[in-house]
């Protein structure tokens, strides 16, 4: 995920994907060589590379469906492209990995073709978080991958691992924290609600949201860096320059395995569980192949493979997985996670963003 937010890389890989696509269209013989094929949009960089190397070849071998993977940018640029293409009856990718907020934005224009749950054999084993439904109950998306954002520390500065998100509020940690810079990617309102207000339900009302902002303001003196770019914080965490903060569990694990003095802790209030869905564009004519693909991706073996090879958290209940305890705890935790209130970012995104910016800039 290190390269996930690398904008230059994203643009370049997207252009590359488009060029490759144009190439295939110009040479229909190659397309015909495979009986069936499917265009799949995956986040460019680390995810696309890992999927291309470890996951898609297995799928093609088993089903005979060739996968053409397309690097998509994170954020919402891909959603805009899919929407505009769908209006013209085109699908730059049949199935795309979409973050939760864009999934919901796409629903407002019926961008996602409804999926048939009966054709996904492990549908009932999916954790409830990983099923995205239209308000009328149609299935809009199925969880693709999940990852945790946890409390990370430098082990030289903090010999003892912190136990709770309360550490962010601890006055002893003045000017020592690195936190994500946006309301919609840091999910710190949810952390505040879970830690101090009894749960994320406290954010249902505007009073609750304002109270969370007020409580969160107390963290400000402790924050040294509000980061947008992962590399900025990761480097500072490894060197001990900024010894505590929120960061991705998988990447921190890789850094620790490389011998850097860092650790990722699931606080007792839970780690932040963020995820992406598989969504099918309504302009796609490959609905059959897409269902085969989503069925394959939601199987316990595939989810196990993803956890081992890509480092993502499984979307299925623990019981059906073949992961050992060690493998499971490397990517996830049994502690009840903090699930972001994506609904808020769709409904009140601009207001929350404005309040947030005033909070940290002011």
């Amino acid at each position: 995920m290190t390269e996930l937010f690398n904008k230059a890389m994203r643009r370049r890989t997207v252009l590359g994907g488009a060029a490759a696509m144009a190439g295939t269209l110009a040479m229909p013989s190659i397309l015909r060589a495979q009986d069936r094929s499917l265009k799949v949009g995956v986040y460019g960089g680390y995810f696309k590379d890992s999927f291309d190397a470890n996951i898609f070849p297995v799928f093609t071998e088993e089903t005979g469906i060739a996968v053409e993977s397309i690097a998509e940018p994170t954020g919402e640029a891909w959603l805009v492209q899919l929407e505009q293409a769908a209006r013209a009856g085109q699908a730059p990718a049949d199935v795309s990995m979409m973050a939760q907020t864009p999934t919901r934005r796409g629903m407002t224009t019926d961008l996602w073709a409804p999926l048939d749950p009966s054709r996904i054999s492990n549908f009932d084993d999916l954790l409830p978080t990983f099923v995205a439904e239209y308000p009328d109950g149609r299935l809009a998306g199925v969880g693709a991958v999940a990852w945790y954002i946890t409390l990370v520390t430098n082990t030289d500065t903090y010999p003892e691992a912190p136990e709770s998100w309360m550490a962010l509020w601890d006055e002893a940690n003045a000017d020592k924290l690195g936190l994500l810079a946006l309301v919609s990617n840091s999910f710190l309102l949810e952390v505040t609600a879970k830690t101090h207000m009894g749960g994320t339900d406290a954010l249902d009302t505007e009073e609750g949201q304002l109270a969370a902002f007020e409580k969160l303001a107390e963290v400000k003196p402790n924050v040294r860096l509000w980061y947008r770019d992962e590399a900025q914080f990761e480097q500072a965490l490894k060197s001990g320059e900024i010894p505590m903060g929120q960061y991705y569990h998988d990447v921190t694990g890789l850094a620790a395995a490389d011998g850097h003095p860092v650790r990722s802790t699931f606080p007792k209030e839970g780690g932040i569980l963020d995820s992406g869905n598989w969504c099918l564009s309504r302009a796609s004519v490959k609905s059959d192949e897409a269902h085969v693909f989503i069925d394959f991706m939601s199987r316990p073996e595939t989810q196990g493979l993803l956890s081992r090879k890509v480092g993502t958290a499984p979307t299925l209940a623990r019981g059906v997985l073949d992961l050992t305890d060690e493998e499971f705890s490397a990517v996830s935790s049994e502690i009840d996670p903090i699930v972001p209130r994506y609904d808020l970012y769709t409904e009140k995104g601009d207001w929350l963003n404005q309040k947030w910016t005033e909070l940290i800039v002011g």
Binding site: K7, G75, E76, A77, L79, V80, E83, R104, R105, T108, T109, A181, L182, S184, N185, R224, L225, W226, R228, D229, Q232, A236, S239, G240, E241, T346, E347, K348, G349, D350, N353, Q354, T357, E358, I360, V361, G362
Partner: protein, 283 residues
């Protein structure tokens, strides 16, 4: 070289290409941005063509006013520091040997090849507690313990001045090279000290160049959005940082466009005022 006013269409031919480029790469994108700034934002989805003033109304608040004010002040400060350092430096440089001048200019040009990202990360390392220059001060006994010199206003200013300084010198250099050396000699033979001659003769002779350079550096600094993020605290974020957030991360194009239009208008107005003030003094 003879200069005549153009008489027929063919005389305008040389400016067709630059004119077309200006239209394609400036006028059209700016018009699109202007149009988008009046579109209606749909918070749950995308934006739709419309003609509303909501985006401008949201910008007109004390909060964005103070961010805009900070961005302008920062850019002005960077411009003044850069010119204050560069003018004496460039005057001294033009008096150095040909070889020394070439070496300096090549070194300055090589700084220009560094991207904003590299400059930002290099300074954040240089000013850090764990690997920064304060460790050097501790080693030679100037300080008790190493400490972080960032994030802060000083760090942002340092990074931005570092980035803009080569431009400043390269803009000033041609004008200062052409400066008649006999002006200084005349001032000296009339009894002025070198310092007095510099301030009373060289600086007034360069006035238009200095004003033009100030404007160039100001505009250059105004667009900076990475250095304030890497080296500063949130209160040092410029308007450009907030525009990027809205455009790329919040997909609120209409609001980002409105902020950008506002920034362009304000900086044009400031540049206009500067030019007018300069012109009046000359008259």
């Amino acid at each position: 070289m003879r200069r005549e006013p153009p008489r027929n269409a063919a005389d305008y031919a040389p400016i067709v290409f630059p004119g077309a480029m200006l239209v394609i790469f400036f006028v059209i994108p700016f018009s699109i941005m202007l149009a988008v700034s009046f579109f209606r934002r749909n918070p749950a989805g995308f934006y739709s063509p419309d003609f509303v003033f909501d985006n401008y109304a949201r910008f007109l608040s004390p909060f964005f006013g103070s961010v805009l004010g900070f961005s302008l002040l920062l850019a002005i400060l960077v411009a003044i520091i850069c010119v204050a350092v560069s003018v004496p430096f460039t005057v001294l440089l033009t008096r150095a040997s040909r070889r020394a001048q070439t070496l300096w200019l090549v070194a300055l040009l090589s700084v220009l090849s560094l991207s904003e990202v590299i400059i930002g990360f290099s300074w954040s390392t240089l000013l850090s507690r764990t690997a920064g220059i304060t460790n050097l001060f501790v080693a030679i006994g100037l300080m008790e313990a190493p400490r972080a010199l960032l994030p802060g206003f000083g760090a942002v200013l340092t990074g931005m001045v570092y980035q803009a300084l080569p431009y400043t010198i390269l803009i000033l250099y041609p004008a200062i090279v052409r400066l008649d050396p006999t002006l200084m000699e005349a001032a000296r033979t009339l009894g002025a000290s070198p310092t007095r001659a510099f301030f009373n003769v060289v600086i007034p002779a360069l006035r238009n160049t200095i004003v033009a350079t100030l404007i160039m550096v100001f505009v250059f600094a105004l667009g900076s959005y990475l250095l304030p993020q890497i080296l500063g605290r949130p209160r040092h974020w410029t308007l450009s940082v907030l525009i990027t957030d809205q455009a790329i991360l919040q997909s609120n194009m209409p609001f980002a466009a409105a902020m950008a239009v506002f920034l362009v208008l304000i900086s044009l107005a400031l540049v206009g005022l500067t030019v007018m003030a300069g012109g009046r003094r000359e008259a």
